[in-house]
């Protein structure tokens, strides 16, 4: 049995008492140095370290996890005796038992409310807000997103965001004119071509559509491109882009809240990445397809090469082309192909051969 000098705080006042402690199987007994009075005995299984022992600094002990009494020991050798006699010495806290219940209860409550916000509040709000937002604001938003996206994808050596040749512009305008009047959309519609080999097309808020040059190369003929364009017009008519944009903004804000301020910047990156992979969902795609079929039929343009486009994509990418946001949202490419083929009534073409050639080479400014 060893005795050590120590300083004792009784948990009632901040005044220290110089004591001598003895450590044995019964625990720690504390005896006042002046007078020899016994101030207390801490049962062995109630003795705890306040913090992990650090060399060069005093050991701090407390009684129980929540007790206010404290003992300070300068002599490191006491630690050996303490370890030998006090089984719960290193239990720094009251243990996990006391803390799991509130975490579980409030965690479930938080999960429920986050799920509610994500799956109910944000979609409903996005849908409503899409009709509340003025057209000019929507156009501004779309223009900014269009430039950002074109900036990300554009591979033009002269850093042009969009492709333009005099003949190509005329051809593109002719195609747009052939389809534009058939959709129910009051605002301005603009279609631009981005110089990138990626096969894709996007409809952005404010009736702004980006066609990627890769899609022009990949398409068999002008009617396939017209079909894609009519499909994007369908998204425009239903104002899907604005809805998705608002949904992503809401989801981004929620995510920021969940992750704390840790990744304030990362959220922005994440949100923009999310937008690039924007999926409208199957229902929205079907709506856009229906508009596409209607527009093609009303214009008398053949839909079979557009239908073939799906098969072509499937062959190229084995069914799941992950960089193709446009087509990746729906597993049922075959179904859509069949639907377009069956509903299409047009037989005509959309552009002359000369115009189609000009459109295909709209990005080849160097070659001409």
């Amino acid at each position: 049995m060893h005795a050590f000098p120590a300083r004792y705080f009784d948990g009632m006042t901040a005044r220290p008492t110089d004591v001598e402690i003895q450590i044995d199987g019964d625990g720690v007994s504390i005896r006042e140095l002046a007078g020899g009075r016994v101030l207390g005995v801490w049962p062995a299984d109630e003795v705890r370290l306040v913090e992990r022992p650090r060399p060069g600094s005093a050991l701090r002990l407390r009684r129980d996890s929540h007790g206010a009494e404290r003992l300070l020991l300068a002599d490191d050798r006491a630690l050996i005796d303490l370890r030998a006699n006090c089984p719960k010495l290193n239990r720094l806290h009251g243990g996990f038992r006391n803390s799991w219940r509130p975490i579980l209860i409030w965690g479930s409550a938080a999960a429920v409310s986050v799920a509610f916000i994500f799956f109910v509040a944000i979609p409903v709000l996005a849908e409503r807000a899409a009709s509340w937002i003025p057209q000019e604001v929507e156009y501004e938003m779309g223009a900014r997103v269009a430039d950002q996206m074109a900036g990300l994808f554009s591979q033009d050596s002269e850093e042009n965001l969009y492709c333009a040749t005099p003949e190509g512009d005329i051809a593109l305008q002719r195609m747009v004119d052939a389809l534009r009047d058939k959709i129910d959309y009051a605002g301005e519609v603009s279609v631009r071509v981005v110089p990138t080999p990626v096969v894709n097309a996007f409809a952005l808020p404010g009736g702004q559509i980006l066609l990627f040059d890769g899609l022009l190369d990949f398409a068999k003929d002008a009617e396939a491109v017209a079909g894609v364009l009519a499909h994007e017009f369908g998204h425009v008519e239903h104002r899907h882009p604005l809805e998705v944009f608002l949904k992503n903004a809401g989801a981004g804000a929620l995510l920021g809240l969940l992750l704390g301020d840790v990744s304030g910047g990362a959220i922005i990156v994440l949100a923009s990445q999310l937008y690039l992979r924007a999926s409208y969902g199957q229902e929205a795609e079907r709506e856009a397809d229906d508009v596409a079929i209607r527009v093609l039929n009303e214009s008398g343009i053949r839909g079979d090469t557009y239908a073939e486009f799906f098969a072509q994509l499937r062959d190229k990418h084995g069914g799941l082309p992950d960089e193709l946001a446009l087509f990746s949202t729906h597993p049922g490419n075959e179904e859509r192909e069949a639907h377009v083929r069956a509903s299409s009534t047009g037989r005509g073409s959309v552009l002359s051969d000369g115009d189609w050639d000009a459109l295909r080479h709209i990005c080849d400014t160097d070659a001409d």
Partner: protein, 429 residues
């Protein structure tokens, strides 16, 4: 007895922390032993765990940091203890997510709806939301302080906080209105009133802290800031008033003749640059006085603070703290800005390929916005700041603190959720 004891004339006095046989008092009554290296280790560990756990660990991370600061702060030779736990902060956050966030979202839905349908009513709803938000910020800060105080222990005695968050937040809001109405003149009175409420409600054991601050003394520090800002604003206001006479030059800029237009534009720009610049110089000077004001307030707080007959006195150097601030915040900002200029203007990366962009950008964002600022704020600002403050702080009648008696504990079970939701304490303690 196998251990010998140091028997002095007045019995054995053990100072376990410093090896000194006397209990420190006076200028040594407060000591900070925090060092950069172990703290950096904690921050690195915190950062890694925070990444791995998708930032859930941040509550435990903050607790680790606090434990370090608390346990390296010594009052009369004894370390403070921080008894808070990460789980408590986490539950506080969950509560906010479960209750406050849905409420605020529903409110925003109503707000957006009203704003678009009935613009007149919508304006009021927005105003109410804005004012409510500011109220909630004050409330959250008061409650967060309560959490931190109740988790602070010295010699087994708990600190704590009485008073009401509702009362405090309402008072703070009213003082905010007053400072707008009085054009800033009421700021010292608001500051002293709110600080008195904070300090006299903070307690250690059963004893409340004493506060002898006086608004007139704070005003003496405040008026140069106010005067300089006023001069700059009046100066600019007069210029904007003169704008009417510049209307003709605006018309000239719109002139279809490019030569006339360019000349007019140059004259217009020169006019504004020359005339605006003096106002800007005055404004920067005002901001310098603002920094001085805020640091002087820290010193002033210590000088009017008392606890159970013990009185504090601080002789901290404003310029030293301005120096720490410059090194930790201003210089990194300048470096960051110049780096951005180099990357985006000089090097002009032009076009990006999307695939290659994600990871490097993510890393830059992570280091730029999270890890480095945390490291700098703690190592370059808090550590030297707290060290300097404790070195220049003396306590008169320090031994009086030992008469303090344990109080009744009334601790909140969970902590700080609101503050976390508002994302205010980036890297802060």
């Amino acid at each position: 007895m196998t251990n010998s004891m140091n028997a002095g004339a007045g019995g054995v006095v053990i100072n376990c922390e410093s090896g000194d046989l006397q209990r420190p008092g006076g200028s040594d009554a407060i000591e900070f032993r925090g060092e950069r290296k172990p703290l950096a280790g904690i921050i690195v560990k915190n950062t890694l765990l925070t990444i791995i756990t998708f930032s859930i660990y941040r509550f435990w991370a903050r607790t680790n940091i606090r434990k370090y600061y608390w346990s390296n702060t010594l009052l009369l030779g004894d370390r403070l203890e921080y008894t808070g736990r990460g789980g408590e902060l986490f539950v506080g956050f969950l509560i906010v997510m479960a209750i406050l966030v849905p409420v605020s979202i529903v409110y925003q839905i109503i707000e957006v709806f009203l704003l678009t349908r009935y613009p007149d009513v919508g304006f009021i709803v927005t105003l109410v939301y804005f004012v409510g938000f500011i109220w909630l910020i004050h409330f959250a800060f008061f409650r967060a302080r309560r959490y931190r105080l109740t988790r602070t222990v010295w010699r087994g005695i708990h600190a704590g906080q009485t008073g009401s968050g509702v009362k405090y937040a309402t008072r703070a809001l009213l003082w905010g209105f007053a400072s707008i109405l009085t054009l800033g003149l009421s700021v010292p009175w608001g500051h002293v009133d709110l600080q008195r409420y904070e300090i006299t409600n903070a307690r250690f054991g059963r004893t409340a802290f004493g506060y002898a601050g006086r608004a007139r003394e704070v005003f003496r520090l405040w008026w140069p800031v106010l005067a300089l800002m006023g001069v700059a604003l009046v100066y600019w206001g007069v210029l904007i008033g003169l704008n009417q006479s510049i209307g003709s030059s605006r018309a000239a800029i719109d002139n279809p003749d490019p030569d006339v237009s360019a000349a007019a534009a140059r004259a217009f720009l020169e006019f504004w640059a020359i005339l605006l610049a003096p106002g800007l110089v005055i404004w920067i000077l005002a901001m310098a006085f603002m920094v001085r004001f805020r640091i002087a307030l820290i010193r002033y707080l210590f000088n009017v603070l008392s606890l159970a007959g013990a009185r504090f006195e601080s002789s901290l150097s404003i310029w030293r703290i301005v120096g720490y601030y410059t090194v930790a915040f201003v210089l990194p900002l300048l470096v960051l800005v110049s780096l951005l200029i180099i990357v985006f203007v000089v090097a002009n990366p032009g076009t990006y390929q999307l695939g290659g962009l994600g990871l490097p950008l993510g890393l830059i964002v992570f280091f730029g916005f999270f890890f480095l600022p945390q490291l700098m704020v703690h190592l370059l600002f808090y550590v030297p700041l707290i060290r300097h403050v404790s070195e220049t702080l003396t306590i008169e009648n320090a031994e009086e603190v030992e008469t303090i008696v344990q109080g009744v504990r009334d601790d909140p079970r969970f902590g700080e959720g609101l503050v976390d939701a508002f994302s205010f304490d980036v890297g802060a303690i």
